[in-house]
Symmetry: C2
Subunit: 161 residues, 2 copies
């Protein structure tokens, strides 16, 4: 990994480019250029600069989980027993390493972690809970919320301007 990720300043051109890319990154640079009033090479150079600075973290395809047999999305709130730095870091590493855990946040409030889990069946989820929660003696309690509808799903960030 060589993601430099030092902060850079973004002007309104950059933000306009980001707005387009986070909706559809297969848009040709020529088209982006027309939209923001810049030449294609200028757009290209700005994109590269933002990639190197870590503003753009990745370029990915979004896949419909249902069509690949991962039909169930589940939220889990996890409460741990001990919040020492070591144990928290261990929990972070463990949750992050599980492919079924799509997202994991360490949070304040009534829970310590919130997970978004994607599994093919409820029994797969049950197996996962055994491994991840019952099998971890620092987990005090967890609460499960099964998604009936994925009303809005994305990672698009609201951009100023």
């Amino acid at each position: 990994m060589s993601k430099a990720s030092f902060a850079i300043t973004l002007d309104s051109f950059d933000l306009a480019i980001l707005r387009i890319l986070q909706r559809d990154n297969s848009t040709p640079q020529r088209v982006i250029g027309e939209a923001v009033n810049l030449s294609a090479p200028a757009v290209q150079r700005r994109i590269r600069r933002m990639e190197e600075a870590g503003v753009i973290q990745a370029h990915v395809a979004i896949i419909d989980p249902i069509q690949v047999g991962q039909a169930i999305t589940i939220f889990v709130e996890v409460e741990v027993i001990s919040e020492t730095a070591d144990l928290i870091d261990a929990a972070k590493r463990e949750f992050a390493s599980v492919p079924e855990v799509q997202q994991c946040y360490y949070v304040t409030g009534e829970a310590d972690f919130v997970l978004v889990v994607v599994v093919p069946t409820m029994s797969a989820y049950e197996a996962l809970t055994r491994r991840l929660f019952f099998g971890n003696n620092n987990v005090k309690r967890f609460r499960t919320f099964v998604a009936m509808d994925r009303v809005k799903v994305g990672l698009a960030v609201p951009l100023p301007g």
Copy 2:
């Protein structure tokens, strides 16, 4: 939008292609072809087919929210008063229409909705709660979890095989 989204069958080539694309969709088709033992046009045709079937829903750039000034990620569990179909649909539409609401799921369990919210400041979040929750008389209660660490963030789906 005319996303047909009828189910298609995916073979192991398709899954291999998806695995690559959901990690880096800027990978050239030629390189994908080498990885999965297919020619570039064959890869291309399979990608197009999966796009048309809705298996691939979008191609997007992932942006670091912190570097664009949206530093705070928040989870919200929302409980509503009345769960009639009309009111639930209205809530879905309202939550989905808000740019700060990055994700919204309609769930079973102790809450009815779970939201992932991205905002620049806590006061922006407070303003949002006024508008979205206090300003909606079908919202019974909501609980806020502020993310201290985005341990793992993505929409990658675990693929069988």
